[in-house]
């Protein structure tokens, strides 16, 4: 059995993944499973049945106290005022200049308590960013050590998880959550995910994670559940056009450029980055994130150059085969004037320009 290099961080399920024969990789400093059986099989399991992911590398930050609302609203782009207790909201954490610190999920637990789920490799930076802006009499707590997170994703996610909890799952609406129990242990059960499929993400105590992992696999056996790695998580989220930090978004990219205007609420109170966004909205964006499909033979991948009329004009942020659509797809930044669907482009693949065309996104949308 292989062991993670000393420098890599490990989730509470690390030994479980190794025992079960997952292929492990260094993912942003975390020793994580990239695949269990095959990325394609795992991808299809989530689209058709159900897949189980360990996403305990994700970070959690709790914001509590009388100033919790004021601080949370001030550091995020979306309208926290619109959140009801038990609701989750996708949002942006920005710098003053309008670029992303991170993209996050804000859960409203109580009027004076927000639970924020953040990206693994950004969690320390996010915590310092939020805590550093706390002039609101709020308590900001770095809480990642207290939670393991499992994602049960796919059309059979609900019946799988329902076998392990008395909490009625069907009434939990998309992007809502409730606190209950899963298999006898306290769990925050959220109907959220990063796959474009229906499903749940549960937050549990780390020491319970290996037991719950196996119980979910047992419960889902009748539905064809598969343990999944980050490889399938990436192909699934790309089809659903969900952003990945470091790819579609980063410190030099604003929500408007990333086609995430819907998470920016300029009509709410002041927030970090607002000034830059107001200005950018007036001036208009010069580049925009768009989807493409390869029409020539080849796969446009992360970082490849994009050409317009044989001239360098942008870059691919994420790209690869779409197992659901059986096409080679990707996302790229292009000059705004050329960002409409149907634009013919070329992607430089190993020093050869290969034809592609911009297309509407998301690439995949589940039937509701």
């Amino acid at each position: 059995m292989t062991q993670p290099a000393a420098a890599l961080k490990a989730t509470p399920l690390n030994a479980t993944h190794r025992k079960m024969g997952a292929k492990m990789v260094d993912f942003g400093g975390w020793d994580m499973p990239v695949q269990y059986s095959s990325i394609l099989e795992e991808h299809h399991a989530v689209r058709k049945d159900v897949g189980l992911f360990d996403v305990s590398h994700m970070g959690e930050i709790e914001i509590r106290g009388a100033g919790a609302f004021a601080l949370t609203d001030y550091v995020t782009t979306n309208s926290v005022a619109k959140l009801k207790i038990g609701q989750a909201q996708y949002s942006g954490l920005l710098y003053e200049h309008g670029g992303f610190v991170d993209d996050i999920l804000v859960h409203k637990v109580a009027e004076d308590h927000y639970f924020v789920c953040v990206n693994a490799s950004n969690q320390d930076k996010d915590y310092e960013h939020i805590a550093g802006l706390n002039r609101h009499n709020a308590r900001v707590e770095f809480a990642s050590e207290r939670y393991a997170q499992l994602a049960i994703q796919g059309p059979k996610g609900l019946p799988t998880l329902q076998k392990l909890t008395k909490t009625g799952l069907a009434p939990i609406a998309y992007y809502h959550f409730t606190d209950g129990e899963v298999s006898g242990t306290k769990a925050r059960i959220a109907r959220t995910g990063y796959t474009g499929e229906d499903g749940f993400e549960i937050y549990i105590a780390p020491d319970q994670a290996p037991r719950i992992w196996h119980e979910i696999l047992d419960a889902g056996q009748e539905f064809g559940i598969k343990p999944c790695g980050l490889g399938a998580r990436n192909t699934l989220r790309l089809e659903a056009k969900m952003a990945l930090y470091g790819h579609e978004i980063h410190a030099s990219i604003t929500p408007y450029e990333a086609d995430l205007a819907w998470i920016v609420k300029l009509d709410k109170g002041d927030f970090i980055g607002k000034g830059a966004l107001v200005k950018q909205k007036e001036q208009g964006i010069t580049r925009k994130l768009v989807g493409f499909e390869m029409t020539g033979r080849g796969i446009g991948r992360d970082g490849y150059e994009v050409l317009l009329n044989s001239t360098a004009a942008g870059w691919v942020t994420s790209g690869g085969p779409s197992p659901t659509l059986n096409k080679n797809i990707g996302l790229c930044y292009l000059p705004t004037a050329h960002s409409k669907p149907g634009q013919r482009i070329e992607i430089m693949i190993r020093n050869q320009p290969v034809e592609a065309v911009t297309v509407p996104t998301p690439f995949y949308k589940r039937a509701k």
Binding site: T2, K23, L40, G298, I299, R301, G320, R350
Partner: protein, 132 residues
């Protein structure tokens, strides 16, 4: 596992030389490391390749990897099966899913390649190397 009549590279290609032609492929170890193969990019017949230089690429869902020519020479045949069924590389890398045939320009080059036994030891060591 690794046929005795083949010769191997440390970059995980194999070549089976008979007469002046070598059939080239990637090893079972390589296909396992790559995972689901979805695309194979191979040179045209007539292309001249040089030992140790890239002759094409194999792409899995996750990543793209170069294929290095195990011997120098001219490409005389390309396996058409792989343009429509790249997944065959996961199923039969030492057989039906060969990549190209090369007419050797320097047959002496094969002396520097690994035998099946050496290659087996090499990948065994590589796998063991992960478990320090």
């Amino acid at each position: 596992m690794y046929p005795n009549q083949f010769q191997y590279t440390r970059e995980h290609e194999w070549v089976h030389v008979s007469g002046e032609t070598g059939v080239v492929g990637i090893t079972d170890h390589a296909q396992k490391e790559l995972g689901d193969i979805v695309y194979v990019d191979l040179p045209k017949v007539g292309t001249v390749v040089e030992k140790g230089k890239s002759l094409g690429s194999v792409e899995s869902v996750k990543a793209v990897s170069d294929i290095y020519a195990p011997v120098s020479g001219e490409i005389v045949e390309v396996n058409q099966l792989l343009s429509t069924k790249p997944e065959k590389l996961n199923e039969d890398p030492h057989g039906d899913a060969w990549l190209v045939k090369i007419k050797l320009s320097s047959p002496g080059e094969i002396q520097s390649l690994l035998s099946a036994e050496d290659y087996q030891n090499y990948v065994g060591a590589e796998e063991a190397g992960h478990s320090a």
